[in-house]
Assembly symmetry: C2
Homo-oligomer: 108 residues x 2
DNA sequence: TAATTACGCAACCATATAGTTGCTTTTTTT
DNA sequence: AAAAAAAGCAACTATATGGTTGCGTAATTA
């Protein structure tokens, strides 16, 4: 079990997905973000750190405030991973049956 | 911290993503899948259970063997979540700067 | 029918994770 | 200059997670 810190692990948490959706619309400070959730500012800050570490979000200091914004480009990596399955779901038919038929005929 | 069991949590694990990619090509038994990894069959079985619980995979008994196959339709849900960001990354410009400018002018 | 194979299930363990509270630093306001 | 606000950092806690080994059961094969 190695310590993972990638986009997939980052979007696994529902709070983090909510944060992503929130700042996608407009850059926000940790306090402003925390107001949308039940948990403390510190908890939100931890999520922001996870998102930062995998570069899903960027930050910009503005006086004593820090604005966090979504790095939409990084989101494309998830899209890239999905790409390999897109071909499959576009030509979906009962794949399992197909495979099992093939296997049966091979045994003969 | 509630116990989650959704597609996003399911694809967070790299081994599970590998399993998904593997059975996307053709339905496989737990033993056959486990051969592709370093961990034990039981560990793989646990991953298969997680994937089953969120309906990302389907199983079909064939004698004493169980063939697991990808439920490509469920994969579309990830695509659906990404949908909301697609509009943003298609019209990407420096959003953060934009927002900060707006906020500055509002203060005046 | 006895041995083997495929697989799920349960118990257990170490580590990761999400959350908390408390403290410090820096910037802004009074 | 003092008080307040914004946010990071550290320590700590409970629970989730990924892994293991061992065992039971059902289907094959010898």
């Amino acid at each position: 079990m190695e310590t993972r810190r990638d986009i997939f692990q980052a979007i696994a948490d529902p709070t983090r997905r909510a944060i992503i959706a929130l700042i996608a619309l407009q850059a926000m400070t940790p306090n402003a973000i925390a107001e949308h959730f039940d948990s403390t500012r510190q908890a939100v800050s931890k999520h922001l750190r996870v998102l930062s570490e995998c570069e899903l979000i960027a930050q910009k200091q503005q006086g004593r405030e820090i604005y966090y914004s979504l790095n939409v480009n990084k989101m494309k990596e998830i899209d890239g991973w999905l790409e390999q399955f897109r071909a499959i779901w576009e030509t979906q038919f009962n794949q399992l049956d197909e495979v099992l038929q093939t296997m049966k005929s091979r045994k003969k």
